[in-house]
């Protein structure tokens, strides 16, 4: 029973990945004259082989995959916990950025403090900043009905401007030749494994079981899921959909903010002006790929992390530009979106009501009502 359910959950994402690889191959072959000068039928194989060996071929590659995956897992959780409550958090990107800038700012301030203090407080700052940034759309949804999709898109762009203001203004490091924040010094995360397997990967690995446990084994998770599945029934059952929406968005922001802290404290060590990232949008893919289930997200995050980690080798060895990853990602999503409904149609015969969670999101768009 349980095995069958898991299998049925996994089949469609796997199918989507395979189909996406096929479509990707067609695109690569079609564009191969631009890469190798002639129509090259084996180019996709070379490209994919390089992708795989880049991601899994060496210990360092493997660690890089995990390092790339960890912010994606956190962002994936940030999106999917929203899904559980019937919310589409497109704002992981913005929440990531404010979390990152908060970690950079506080880290810089504590650059000479004892490492545990510096790290702890910087991360705390990122959590708080991300949480506040998630709270805003949650609050707006709960009390004004403004749909979170629009508000979070807008907040993403506001975050970019806000960060630009901070880094080129109050946070700008003195003496630096170009605009960046000061180094975080002591707040830099220690490397635990391999060359660059920093402490941040633990955040992601720990967040997954916690999220799973909270969602499926506690009354809090039950409330979140109930609000997502039927907010009226939740109210009837004595829950407060408003506060659950706010709390959920806050937690989503917190997770995305944590991802931002991991990137700044674990990888760059400071925040440059014009800092850019794909994490927020990759998070959406991860959430859908993982079917909004924390365990699924772990794998979805690893898969996308592997693609991001291996893509360089794909470009180096096969000459296929890294943008191919975005294409693949989009095609995976395309098939997931299409299959979601194919399954929905067959739902009556298969396990019913497994997929409906994601269906609620855009339905509410026209209503703009408070929960």
């Amino acid at each position: 029973m349980n095995l069958r359910r898991t299998l049925s959950l996994v089949t469609i994402p796997l199918l989507a990945i395979v189909l996406a690889l096929i479509v990707g191959a067609v695109v690569i072959i079609a564009s191969s004259p631009l890469v190798s000068g002639h129509l090259d039928l084996v180019l996709p194989l070379r490209a994919y082989a390089a992708l795989v060996s880049g991601a899994f071929g060496t210990v360092n590659g493997l660690i890089q995959t995990i390092v790339s995956a960890s912010p994606l897992i956190l962002a994936g959780l940030a999106v999917s916990i929203g899904f559980k409550a019937g919310l589409f958090n497109i704002g992981a990107q913005g929440q990531f950025l404010v979390g990152a800038v908060a970690a950079a700012a506080v880290g810089a301030g504590l650059a000479h403090a004892p490492a545990p203090v510096a790290i702890g407080v910087s991360i705390l700052a990122a959590l708080v900043a991300g949480a506040v940034y998630g709270f805003i759309p949650g609050f707006l949804k709960a009390f004004t009905g403004a749909h979170e999709v629009v508000t979070t898109i807008m907040l993403n762009y506001i975050a970019i401007q806000f960060v630009a203001y901070l880094i080129t203004g109050p946070l700008r490091a003195t003496g630096a030749t170009f605009a960046r924040s000061p180094s975080v010094g002591a707040a830099e995360l220690p490397v635990l494994i391999g060359r660059n397997g920093h402490l941040g990967i633990l955040f992601a690995l720990v967040a997954v079981p916690i999220a799973w446990w909270l969602l499926y084994r506690t009354t809090i998770g039950f409330e979140v899921r109930t609000v997502g599945a039927n907010p009226d029934a939740a109210r009837y059952a004595g829950m407060s959909p408003r506060w659950i929406v706010i709390a959920t968005m806050t937690v989503c922001g917190l997770l995305a903010g944590l991802a931002g802290a991991g990137e700044i404290l674990g990888i760059t060590g400071y925040m440059p002006a014009g800092y850019s990232t794909n994490v927020g949008f990759d998070g959406i893919t991860v959430a859908l790929l993982g079917r909004a289930n924390p365990i699924g997200i772990l794998f979805g995050g690893l898969l996308l992390g592997a693609m991001r980690a291996g893509s360089n080798l794909m470009q180096i060895q096969a000459g296929v530009p890294v943008q191919m990853i975005d294409v693949l990602q989009g095609v995976i999503l395309f098939f997931l979106a299409a299959e979601l409904v194919v399954r929905y149609v067959f739902r009556v015969r298969a396990a019913r009501a497994q997929v409906t969670e994601l269906q609620t999101v855009s339905r509410s768009y026209g209503q703009q009502t408070t929960p």
Partner: protein, 525 residues
């Protein structure tokens, strides 16, 4: 018992509409099973059946909203295929749906014209020319109607008229009315009836769908009764009576009134004092309602839907904050208390819309059965859920309340309406209650389930629970209540002993709110 159909039309013109052997299967349900129906020109043909008997499905097929799996439709003797509403409209069929098919933001005129727009040239509408015709139609029925008012601002009664104008505007030959009186007062109903009779003199054939026997007897020229997707009889009103029709409709001898025994009212449990509440748009729709429900009695609130009952109930069960007034439960002030607080004080609530409030359809029965209790022992310790305890409880409930389900792990969505309602009843009634609020508890259920639920309610009453029953089904209120109140335009306009209440008297109150101007509320116990 069903007399061999020896219809009277061998020599006359062919029926305006004939449906032959219509069969429609939905997953798990045989909605129509070889239905035959004949409607003659100029007649009002009633289609009688319980909720879920397949009336609406049959009409959706006629109107091109659903495709039959088998069967044939003939118009004036010619076989036709109707694959979409536009087909139906083109062939002179119009339908007034149970749930109004009006676009709230569009004006009355635009709603009527939509789909049959008068055009000035290929692109632009010619509203002006249409207005004249619409005014004529309104005058024909003797109505004053503001054609530019957005439909969303009209009362239900007026929306119903707009729906009928829509059909008439389309020059329909066959007019289908799906439960047109469900939301109307008896007086409005009478007006509609007058209008329908007028239409038949203009040559319309009308199919009138209802499950109310007396209405059908009053208006129809002929009655076809369906049960469980099959035609079980055809009658002329002159040759039948309520008993006969009820038997056909339900399939066995039914006792139209439940023996509710005698009640032994005790101390007041719920005391409501001058309560006000607003609807979602901020309009005050409950004006100063006062009432009390005593232990061991059923207080029934009758009223046409949309007279503030929903908001009143929601205000009482904690889903809506009253804007003024006071609510006491067992002597404690619970004004503005949330659902959980009230639940813990011994209140239970069976909501009218079980899909919206009562259940999470995607959840298994286990979770649905603890929906209001999930947070407390034995189902949870702290924030940890105890899955085992939840399963044990679910197994018990399924057995005790005879919920027909393959397992406690299937989603609630897979159950029939009756079984879904049993899940709610099992959850809500399975403990010692001080107060039970039943809001339209049997809407859309089969007779078996209705009886089951009524019996459960009476049992609770006899065990000393105070029961507040709110229903738009006057019959249900009359059958179950010890005392009856009537809601009209947000006020409780009457409160009477059930023994002295007659269907006519209550109906009049529902329709008019009583003859005397209602400044203050009559009879608060």
């Amino acid at each position: 018992m069903t007399e061999p159909t020896a219809p009277l039309e061998q020599h006359g013109p062919p029926p305006a509409l004939e449906m032959r052997g219509i069969t429609k299967r939905y997953p798990g349900v045989l909605a129509n099973d070889g239905i035959d129906l004949q409607v003659h020109p100029g007649e009002i043909h009633a289609l009688l059946g319980e909720n879920g008997a397949g009336k609406t499905t049959l009409m959706n097929i006629l109107y091109g909203l659903a495709t039959p799996d088998a069967g044939q439709i003939l118009l004036d003797g010619e076989p036709v295929s109707i694959s979409s509403p536009s087909d139906a409209i083109r062939r002179g069929i119009s339908m007034v749906h149970q749930h109004f098919m009006l676009v709230p933001v569009l004006s009355v005129a635009d709603n009527i014209l939509l789909g049959e727009e008068p055009m000035a040239g290929p692109v632009f509408l010619d509203r002006r020319s249409a207005y004249g015709r619409l005014r004529d139609l309104a005058t024909f029925f003797g109505w004053e109607i503001d054609l530019d008012a957005p439909v969303g601002t009209l009362s239900v009664g007026w929306q119903q008229r707009v729906e009928i104008l829509k059909a008439v505007y389309r020059n329909a030959q066959i007019l289908v009315l799906d439960e047109p009186t469900a939301v109307l007062t008896p007086q409005e109903t009478r007006e509609i009836f007058t209008m329908l009779r007028r239409l038949t003199t203009e040559g319309y054939s009308i199919i009138f769908i209802s499950h109310k026997l007396y209405e059908v007897l009053e208006i129809a020229n002929r009655i076809t009764v369906i049960r469980r997707g099959r035609v079980v009889g055809e009658r002329l009103p002159s040759q039948t009576d309520e008993e006969d029709l009820a038997q056909l409709m339900v399939g066995r001898e039914v006792q139209l009134t439940v023996d509710r025994g005698t009640s032994h009212p005790g101390e007041p449990r719920l005391v409501v004092d001058d309560l006000y509440a607003r609807d979602d748009r901020g309009h005050e729709v409950v004006h100063g309602v006062s009432l009390e429900v005593r232990a061991g009695e059923v207080l029934g609130i009758a009223g046409v839907a949309g007279n503030g009952q929903d908001e009143l109930v929601e205000a009482l069960v904690g889903l809506r904050r009253p804007s003024a007034g006071r609510v006491q439960l067992d002597g404690h002030d619970v004004t503005g208390a949330g659902p959980r607080d009230l639940h813990q004080r011994g209140m239970a609530f069976v909501p009218a819309d079980r899909h919206r409030f009562g259940l999470v359809l995607s959840y298994p029965l286990t979770d649905n059965l603890v929906l209001t209790d999930y947070f407390r022992p034995p189902y949870a310790r702290g924030i940890m859920r105890d899955e085992d305890a939840i399963r044990v409880q679910a197994g018990k409930a399924v057995e005790q309340y005879d919920i027909r389900t393959p397992s406690v792990d299937v989603a609630a969505a897979t159950l029939s309406g009756g079984n879904q309602q049993k899940v709610i009843v099992a959850r809500e009634l399975d403990r010692d209650l001080r107060l039970l609020v039943l809001d339209q508890p049997t809407r859309g259920l089969d007779v078996g389930s209705i009886e089951f639920i009524h019996r459960q309610a009476i049992a609770k009453r006899d065990a000393g629970t105070a029961i507040l029953l709110v229903s738009a089904e006057l019959d249900e209120v009359l059958e179950l209540s010890d005392r009856i109140g009537v809601m009209y335009r947000g006020r409780l306009v009457a409160l009477m002993d059930a023994r002295s209440a007659t269907r006519e008297a209550v109906g009049l109150l529902m329709a008019t709110g009583g003859s005397q101007p209602q400044k203050t509320d009559t009879g608060a116990a």
